[in-house]
Each structure stands twice: as structure tokens, then as C-alpha cells.
């Protein structure tokens, strides 16, 4: 179905090819996983298959490429899209329409599919994807997972024979990933050829027929599904790949917590944790920020309703729970960014203004909080650039965060991880005491995840509170000290993870 012969690509303005000498055959009906570190060329490989390179991102193609007997270089992206369907990382920015039915019909309309055929396909797709409940809904009302499902379904409406998915799970939580798995199973059953590039491997490990491993723009290894699943953890981590299986969190935390006889909460599961902590309440003099009450309402609905939560200081606290459970709202309420009914005690009750001054929230869309013209300008925002002492301090912080070489670059040009670290640097220089992260690990590979975890461990001593709101269990297991589970707006008592 897909034949690459010494295929490669060099982006315009770049000396180094992003991808070189890739020769591979993919048979019809195969599900192939493409993996490797960030920047290994897996995205580029996918862009060659769906024509995004060179159709949208200009550059030089090498070797020969055939997808379903088409040379992607010889047709427009639009023509190719009748045969090759694509799904990308950000669910929302792929939606063209404001209601879901229009979105599903978008591709068919573009390809001038007849009305009757369109209707028939719509019935089939809706049934295959189980999306009846989303029909007639505004696309703005969809969660990330739902949006991604609609995007997949919309692609399916074109009935392509090849699907190309570029990190489709990057912004999804566990529940949404389960849905994505269902979608992939349905597509596979329909006989489609599927190529997926991913960092998060656990949901694909059991599904894939073959794995291509890329490193520095080259195809360095190929595995069958069974070979790949048999790789041991050490081998996998030296390849820079994330886990192929992730155990449930709560069970694990439960065991560990009880084992250490830990002093903060007794590690009961989510539900009872709260009640239990009320009795075996930790020593009030212990170093903790107490959230006596935090109630946040949005559109006349109570989103977060937390009481008596002890947040241990100098510890990396993971705030977990599925998307939409109120993690972001909790951070917004705690930090004072959002008006909330809050009683927070940290050596005295804190007003909203005080909390606002002490907190720094690194947002999920971190680019929305970067205003500076360079990394240095960003971290000194609002301060005098001539202040020698401050400048020296800024340089120290940037060096310790591995940003020294990027100090004069515009923040827009940074990678996602660098943007995050820039925000952290700004927070540290602003004497932040509560450092809060909202979903910081979307779409990052193993190296970046470990590095980010290490960073948190390093800075937790210099700020009072480090809270990471995340749905990424793998990340929680590897980097957090304590876990607070949020469900239906209520929080469990923190339990210790290691």
C-alpha cells in the first residue's frame, strides 16, 4: 500500500535533511507505529505520506514515495486527501465548522460526493464511531477527546484507504484515549492501512502490527508487534521511548502509602481518602498549605468544592483526574486568577490578592503567557534591564534551566519544553512561592518527561508549593511525590507515591 524507497526530506532553509534514506514497505491493512525521540523525523515521515511536505511546508523531497499507487508529489494535497486521511495533534484547531454534522460532511462536500452517497456514509460513520450523541452539537461544546473523535470520523467520511495520524493522543486523557483506541480498532477492522506517530505508546502497543523506530532522521530499527511488546523497560528507555504499559495509579499509591506508614494522609483510595484524612489529620504545624475551603463556580455550576485539604510544601504534588473534572479551575481558584469562595491558610489566612502575588500558573497553552521579545526579556518582564544584580540572577536561573543559549531568541521560536522552562524561569525570578502547572506534559517524549520531572525535583526546594495538574498517569508515576485525586470537583487527601 505504501512504498518508500530511500525517501527523505529537507525543509526549506535548512541544511540538514529532517529525514533521509527511509526505505520501507507497508502492506494494506497494517497498523504501523512510528516512534522515536522528539525531532527524530517521525512527523516528517508522515508529512511525506499525506503531502503536507512539500504541499504546505516547502522543501526538497528525495527518493521515491508511493501511497496507494499515487506519488504524493504529483498531485495536490486536496486530491491526495481522497485517498490519504490525516488526523493531527490539536483536536480543536482541526475543526472547520461550528456544528458537528457540518464538520462530518466537510470532506465529502469538498470532494463533491453526491448527496445520496454522503447520507449513506454519514449513517455508517455515525454507527461505526458511536457518535450519535454529538450530532447537532456546537463544536465548541466538545471536550478534547470528543473533538478528536469527530475529527477522526470526519476523515473517515472521505473513506480513504490510508490513515495518517500524527500524535493523535497528545492532548487526550485516559478516557479519551480509550475512545481513540475504539476508533483505531474500528478503522483497522474496515481494512484501512494506518500509520501512527506517537510518544505515548501504551495504548498502541497491543494494537500495532509493526513498529518503525527513527533516530536523527533515519529509520534505525523495525519490529513486529510481538518483538516490540517483548522489549524490556531498560532497552525501551535507552531508546527514549515511553512505557508500553501503564499501571493504574491509585492501586499503586495505596500500596506504597500504607507501606511507608506515611504521615500525610494514609493513602486510602480516592473516595474515602478525604474522610480518612479528617481523622488522622496531619500535624497542623507540619509544613503545609491548608485549603480550608475552595469553592469555584462557573456559569452557576459548582465546579470545584474542596474542604480541609493539606498540601504538603516542598513536594511535587500531582493533581490528577480526567479532563473536565475541574483541575484547571482548582488551580485558577487557588492562585486567585479566578474569583472563588476560598479560605487558604499558610501561616495566616491569605486574601485573593496575596494568593495572586504568591502564585504562578504555567498554563497549558504556555504561549498565551509569554509576552517578551526574547527569553531574557521574558523572564525580566517589567524589570529594568540595566539592573546588574537582577541580570546576573536571571542568567543564573536561565543557565540552571538549560536556557542560556536561548536567551536572545524570541519565545515563539522555542520548543514546547523550552517555553515551559522559560515560564518556570520567569516564575522563579518573580519570587513565586506557589508554582502551579496546568497539563504540562502534552505530547512530550520520554527524555523530556524525565527532564521535566527532574526539574520539578530540583526546584521544589526553592518554592513552597509545586502542584502539577495532569491526566498523564505515566508522568505522575515517574515524577510526583504526592498525589491528590480530583473527582466531581472534590479532592482526595494527598497520598504519598514514593
Amino acid at each position: 500500500m505504501i512504498t518508500l524507497d530511500e525517501a527523505g526530506f529537507t525543509f526549506e532553509g535548512s541544511e540538514q535533511p529532517a529525514l533521509a534514506d527511509v526505505s520501507v514497505e507497508i502492506a494494506a491493512g497494517e497498523l504501523v507505529l512510528v516512534c522515536g525521540r522528539s525531532g527524530c523525523g517521525k512527523s516528517t515521515l508522515l508529512k511525506l505520506l499525506n503531502g503536507v511536505a512539500p504541499g504546505f511546508e516547502e522543501g526538497e523531497v528525495a527518493g521515491s514515495i508511493r501511497v496507494a499507487d499515487i506519488d504524493p508529489g504529483q498531485v495536490t494535497m486536496q486530491e491526495l486527501s481522497a485517498t490519504v486521511g490525516s488526523v493531527f495533534q490539536h483536536p480543536r484547531s482541526q475543526l472547520f465548522s461550528i456544528d458537528t454534522v457540518d464538520e462530518l460532511l466537510f470532506g465529502c462536500g469538498n470532494h463533491r460526493v453526491d448527496r445520496e452517497v454522503m447520507l449513506g456514509r454519514l449513517d455508517e460513520t455515525v454507527a461505526a464511531f458511536g457518535i450519535e450523541e454529538f450530532l447537532d452539537r456546537s463544536t465548541f461544546r466538545l471536550s478534547g477527546g470528543e473533538a478528536q473523535k469527530i475529527v477522526c470520523a470526519s476523515t473517515h467520511m472521505n473513506r480513504p484507504s490510508v490513515y495518517v495520524l500524527d500524535e493523535p493522543s497528545a492532548n487526550l486523557d485516559d478516557g479519551a484515549i480509550d475512545q481513540l483506541v475504539e476508533v483505531l480498532v474500528a478503522l483497522k477492522r474496515s481494512g484501512a492501512t494506518i500509520v501512527v506517530a506517537e510518544h505515548r505508546l501504551h495504548y498502541l502497543a497491543d494494537l500495532c502490527d509493526r513498529v518503525l523506530y527513527l533516530d536523527e532522521g533515519r529509520l534505525v530499527a523495525q519490529y513486529t508487534g510481538d518483538e516490540f511488546r517483548a522489549l524490556d523497560d531498560d532497552r525501551r528507555s535507552t531508546m527514549g521511548l515511553r512505557a508500553t504499559a501503564v499501571e493504574q495509579l491509585s492501586a499503586d499509591g495505596d500500596g506504597d502509602g500504607a507501606g511507608d506508614g506515611d504521615d500525610v494522609g494514609d493513602g486510602d483510595g480516592a473516595g474515602e481518602g478525604r474522610a480518612a484524612s479528617g481523622e488522622s489529620a496531619p500535624d497542623p504545624t507540619a509544613d503545609a498549605v491548608t485549603v480550608e475551603r475552595l469553592r469555584c463556580r462557573r456559569r452557576r455550576r459548582t465546579i470545584v468544592d474542596v474542604a480541609g485539604l493539606e498540601l504538603p510544601k516542598h513536594s511535587v504534588i500531582a493533581l490528577t483526574g480526567p479532563n473536565g473534572v475541574g483541575k484547571s479551575t482548582f488551580l485558577a481558584g487557588l492562585s486567585g486568577a479566578m474569583k472563588a469562595d476560598a479560605v487558604v491558610d499558610d501561616g495566616g489566612k491569605l486574601s485573593r490578592r496575596q494568593r495572586l502575588r504568591r502564585s504562578f500558573v504555567v498554563m497549558q497553552d504556555v504561549h498565551q503567557q509569554l509576552f517578551g521579545e526574547s527569553v531574557l526579556d521574558e523572564v525580566l518582564l517589567g524589570h529594568d534591564l540595566d539592573d546588574e544584580a537582577r541580570l546576573a540572577q536571571a542568567d543564573d536561573v536561565l543557565t540552571s534551566l538549560g536556557l542560556a543559549s536561548r536567551r536572545d531568541v524570541h519565545p515563539y521560536c522555542l520548543s514546547g519544553g523550552e517555553k515551559q522552562r522559560t515560564a518556570v524561569a520567569a516564575a522563579l525570578l518573580a519570587n513565586t512561592r506557589y508554582l502551579l502547572f496546568d497539563e504540562p506534559t502534552s505530547g512530550i517524549d520520554l527524555d523530556h518527561m524525565t527532564r521535566f520531572g527532574r526539574l520539578l525535583q530540583e526546584i521544589k526546594g526553592s518554592v513552597d508549593l509545586v502542584i502539577v495538574a495532569t491526566h498523564d498517569r505515566e508522568f505522575v508515576r515517574s515524577c510526583a511525590d504526592h498525589v491528590v485525586e480530583l473527582s466531581a470537583g472534590r479532592a482526595s487527601a494527598p497520598y504519598r507515591l514514593r
Binding site: H90, S93, G107, N110, A337, F371
Partner: protein, 231 residues
């Protein structure tokens, strides 16, 4: 699920082209003849069409606005002169804008984007000319969302420009525009890989077609127009 697909064929559904025509005709009634009686008749007819189309929320909104306007108008006579002046200034815009707004509401609240696009295509508008309009509608709420997120972020970081409005403007624009450039590109790629712009025209599930209701609605409006011009 059937509603989205079959509702447009419902008996009392006006063709989007009719709604456009009604909007234009109502404008002529308001701006050319400016006769209060006929303007209110036009408003009533528009409200009726909204009710028939099932857009009850729009009707409720409209009725509430008029009720408030008239109520204030009735009691304000007793207020001091300056207050009356101010009120006159404020309410004039509403009285002028509302009658046509009824028909704009009819178009906007009872037409899906694809119906409108299909109707425009029948009027020989090429897809290329419709893309910016569709993207505009799709992005207005997104821009508003981004704007709120950015102003929150500014507050959190204390980046309010220190009283310098130009600085504050920069802090809003830089992340906003850079973000839009990024999402615009992502949307472009997603649209191209689903075939947008492959042909000059697209196909639509719903074919707009004129029916008896369209003829009736236009007839009523034309009658109103003729009567207004004679009055």
C-alpha cells in the same frame, strides 16, 4: 440524530436566500420610508417568522428588549431634563437597529452555516469567497476565548504594562496574534488534508429550494413595503 439531517426539509423552513431578501426588504422599509406603524408591523412579522421557525429564545430576547425600552420610556418623562436627553440618545440606536436586527436574527439563529453556504453557492458565489466568511464565524468565539485567557495570564504575571497603555496593548497582541497565526496554519493543514478548495464548488447535503412559505413570506413583505411607500 435525524433532526440535523431532516429538519431543513421541514415544511415551514424558509430558504436562506429568502431570509436574505427579507432582511434587505425590511431595511428598505425602515430606512427609506421610516413610518413607525409599518416598522412595527415588520417587526411583528419577523417575530412571527421566528416563532414559526422555532427560535423562541430569540423572540423572548427581542420581546424583553422592547418591553424594557418602552417601560423606561414611559417612566422617564418625570426625570430631570438631562437624564431624558441621555436616555433619548441611548435608546435611539436601539429603536433604529432593532427592526432590522429581527431579520438578521432570523437569518443567523435559524440557518446552519452549511445551509447558508449551499444557498450562497446557488447564488453563484464561489467556495473561495465563502471560506473567509466561514472561518470568520468559526474564529470569533476562539478569539474571544484567547483574549480572556491572555488577560488572565497578564494579571497572573503582573504584566499589565505598568500604566503604559501601549505596553499593555503589546502584551495582548503578541500572544494573541502569534497564537492565531499558529492555529490558522493548523486549520489550513487540516482543511487541505480534507480536500478544501479541490473544486470550485462543493456539494451540500441540503439543497436549498424555494417553497410556498417562501413565496408567502416575500409577498407579505412586499405588500408591507408598498403600503409604507404609499403612506
Amino acid at each position: 440524530m435525524t433532526s440535523a439531517i431532516e429538519a431543513p426539509a421541514g415544511r415551514f423552513r424558509l430558504d436562506p436566500r429568502t431570509k436574505l431578501l427579507l432582511l434587505v426588504l425590511m431595511n428598505v422599509v425602515v430606512y427609506s420610508y421610516g413610518n413607525a406603524l409599518f416598522i412595527y408591523l415588520g417587526v411583528a412579522f419577523g417575530a412571527l417568522l421566528l416563532v414559526v421557525a422555532g427560535s423562541l429564545r430569540a423572540v423572548a430576547m427581542l420581546t424583553a428588549t422592547y418591553a424594557v425600552l418602552f417601560a423606561i420610556d414611559a417612566v422617564i418623562g418625570a426625570a430631570p431634563g438631562a437624564v431624558v436627553e441621555l436616555w433619548n440618545g441611548l435608546s435611539l440606536s436601539f429603536f433604529v437597529a432593532l427592526p432590522t436586527a429581527v431579520y438578521a436574527l432570523l437569518l443567523v439563529t435559524t440557518t446552519t452555516m452549511s445551509e447558508l453556504a449551499a444557498a450562497l453557492q446557488k447564488l453563484r458565489v464561489p467556495t473561495a469567497a465563502m471560506i473567509p466568511l466561514l472561518v470568520f464565524v468559526r474564529f470569533v468565539p476562539a478569539v474571544a476565548q484567547d483574549f480572556r485567557a491572555i488577560t488572565t495570564a497578564m494579571r497572573l504575571r503582573g504584566a499589565t504594562g505598568g500604566g503604559n497603555p501601549l505596553r499593555a496593548m503589546e502584551y495582548v497582541y503578541v500572544p494573541l496574534l502569534l497564537g492565531l497565526v499558529r492555529t490558522g496554519d493548523q486549520l489550513t493543514v487540516a482543511a487541505l488534508t480534507r480536500g478544501l478548495g479541490r473544486f470550485r464548488t462543493r456539494t451540500y447535503l441540503v439543497e436549498p429550494r424555494f417553497g410556498v412559505v417562501d413565496v408567502l413570506a416575500v409577498a407579505v413583505m412586499v405588500a408591507l413595503l408598498v403600503a409604507a411607500s404609499r403612506a
